[in-house]
Amino acid sequence: MSQIPVHYAMLLAAILFAIGLIGVLSRRNIILMLMSVEIMLNAAGLAFIIAGSRWLQPDGQVMFIFILAMAAAEVSVGLALIVQMYQQHKTLDVNSINKMKG
């Protein structure tokens, strides 16, 4: 970490997070929205690693492992929901399923 300035690395994490956010807000295909959420989670984890290596503490990496496990659980449930959505509505467009039942 001695060579790489912290603010450059944090800027990278912020840019990646912004790209993921733009993806979630602009795309209407639900698979691509889920991928954008993955980019955002990755950027958040990167910020944890940067902070952890800035203060030479292992806590940042511990948090990254937590984020990793959370992303895995989130993706499995999200993809199961996508499969169910496609079987029932035959579409992946989130605008077409804006009615709740019950």
């Binding site: 790489i4 690395a9 733009i22 993806g23 993955e38 290596s53 503490q57 989130e74 199961a80």
Partner: protein, 173 residues
């Protein structure tokens, strides 16, 4: 070190932008894998080699395979058969391939000049992470385990196909 970081950051940003602008989900996935590998190299440069390996194995490996399985299961679009000849056209894979090549050259450079780069950077070893994980954060790791279990059961329950026919003798004709 700094120039390596800048190149990798550029590759990560370019691959992420390409990933969210594709219309085909598989093409987006290709770019997303490049983005994850670029972030893994950044983690490596930041002195977290264990996390970098975990990023490649879990994100670029397991989660992406999950995405690919779901895209294959859905088989989106009836025109998939017609597109089969276009799948391997160079226009699709040339972008991710160039970005991957940049990352590969960079990794080769890092490995060949190991003594200068890796020993200078202050690393946090996997041992410290493990000790911290299983002493200070033991409650957190247990909660994560419970959450993964809930994720598995939830995914199974949600994606289960509801059976219309209860029994073969009770079948409604």
């Amino acid at each position: 070190m700094m120039i390596l970081f800048l190149i990798t950051a550029f590759v990560a940003i370019a691959a992420s932008i390409l990933a969210i602008t594709r219309t085909n989900a598989v093409h987006a996935l290709l770019n997303l894998i490049v983005s994850f590998i670029a972030i893994a190299i950044i983690l490596f440069l930041l002195g977290a080699p264990f996390i970098a390996a975990l990023e490649v194995v879990v994100y670029a490996g397991a989660i992406m395979v999950l995405f690919i399985f779901v895209i294959m299961m859905l088989n989106v679009g009836a025109e998939t058969e017609e597109k089969k000849s276009k799948w391997l056209s160079p226009k699709i894979w040339i972008g991710p391939a160039i970005l991957s090549l940049v990352l590969f050259l960079e990794l080769t450079y890092v490995v060949l000049s190991e003594s200068e780069i890796l020993l200078q950077s202050s690393q946090i070893t996997p041992k410290e992470v493990g000790i911290s994980l299983f002493t200070q954060y033991i409650l957190g790791i247990e909660l994560v385990a419970i959450m993964l279990m809930a994720g598995i059961i939830g995914a199974y329950h949600i994606s289960r196909v509801k059976r219309k026919v209860k029994h073969r003798f009770l079948k409604e004709e």
